[in-house]
Amino acid sequence: MPGSTASSSPPAAPAPSPADAAPAAPAAAEPDVLSRSEPVTLEIPAIGLTTGLIKLGLRDNGSLEVPEDKGNGAPASWYNGSPTPGERGPSVVLGHVNALGGHKGVFADLRQLRPGSDIIVLRADGSSAVFSMDHAAQYSKDGFPTLEVYGNTPGSELRLVTCDGYDPSTGRFNDNYVIYAKLKT
């Protein structure tokens, strides 16, 4: 059960109302987005995933902090230097592909997602941001295209980042697997 590795259950959120939260007067030709509200929970119905989202920043070397697995797996995390999910720009969410003790990680099943799948983020203000998967890409960590993944976007987008390219000889994952999704309007 993919969902069973996730650590928290969804809060009792009121009915989603993304349209209500659109800010006044975005610049001409820019897609509507939601106002700022930090994420609480991530749901991906197509793979039965529900996970809480912790908030993490950058390490001193400028790279992303990742959730710590204390032995029971780890929830996914939102990078708190990126836009909140629903705000204009690419919101960055990380999750492990596997867990301590050979268990599955919270994002173990991301590869099963297909374009058009819904990705739902419940937010602290009670609203939800509903994204639709656009495409996915696998990148070597040595040649990670930071501008493509983290660069400015006209509307609200989401990046789900996990690992891939496991190398048994080193025990390391050489690649990142990134899902690109756009806010449904």
């Binding site: 920043g57 001193d60 992303l64 710590e68 690992c163 994952f173």
Partner: protein
């Protein structure tokens, strides 16, 4: 801060990373970015990021698909940050003399004059703007420079009027009139040599851009019997930096399994 310094700083900062988790100590004050678009049908592409920390700018320009050779040598592409105008790249209508080529001068009402030269070495001031020896070379290359940012460039970045322009076209792609014309900047050169090939307005980033992917190549010391246990690896990197904490965590992991 240049890359070398950044790497040197990592070992001494590794312990702090655990205690001060999430502190963006090396984050730039301001980060700007642009995806460059072709001008004059160059069919080139590129990206540029400019991170400003204090009075230092770190610029990374990556281009491909530019004209490759000029007189049997790598084609020199002069490249600059322009500023002080509208912060705009020229539309085809900027070709006022109708020769089918938007010259650097014809594009200037949109992007302004040179405020920084993105030279491959040495001087980054406007004075180096037409020095072919420190121009980009060939069809595809990366220029990674850290330099003191001047007041004009800083002002243009903050005003959203800083525009990166890479110059130099393949003469064979121009109209007959364009091929016959002399450069508006350096009359001894053909018009193709100095005309814009790529252009993009630098915009403030929507986030503090992380370095690399979800694990940024700090590989030393991470390999081991359980190195694959944490998919994103970062936990292990930090754990390796403080062996004690690592042992404690491994024990709790075993008892939980």
């Amino acid at each position: 801060m240049n890359k070398t310094l950044r790497f040197l700083a990592v070992p001494t900062l590794a312990l702090g990373a655990l205690a001060l988790s999430g502190s963006p100590a090396l984050a730039a004050d301001h980060s700007y970015q642009s995806t460059l678009g072709q001008i004059n049908g160059s069919s080139a592409s590129g990206t540029v990021t400019v991170d400003v920390t204090g009075n230092q700018a770190h610029a990374v320009l990556k281009v491909s698909g530019l004209a490759a050779t000029f007189m049997d040598a790598p084609y020199p592409h002069v490249q600059h940050i322009h500023g002080g105008a509208q912060g705009a790249c020229p539309a085809p209508s900027a070709d006022k003399d109708g020769d089918g080529v938007i010259s650097t001068t014809e594009g200037a009402p949109g992007y302004g004059g040179i405020v920084t030269t993105l030279s491959t070495s040495g001087d980054t001031s406007p004075a180096a703007g037409l020095d072919l020896k420190v121009a980009g070379q060939g069809a595809s290359y990366t220029v990674d420079r850290t330099f003191e940012v001047n007041a004009e460039t800083k002002a243009a970045l903050e005003a959203g009027t800083a525009v990166v322009v890479v110059h130099g076209l393949d003469p064979a792609t121009l109209s007959a009139a364009g091929q016959a014309a002399k450069s508006d900047l350096v009359p001894s050169l053909p018009l193709a040599a100095t005309s814009p090939a790529l252009c993009g307005t630098l915009k403030a980033g929507q986030m503090t851009m992380p370095v690399g992917g979800a694990e940024t190549g700090i590989t030393a010391g991470t390999a081991g019997p359980d190195a694959g246990a944490l998919a994103l690896g970062g936990g292990l990197v930090l754990a390796a930096a403080v062996g004690g904490a690592y042992v404690v965590r491994r024990r709790s992991a075993r008892s939980a399994a």
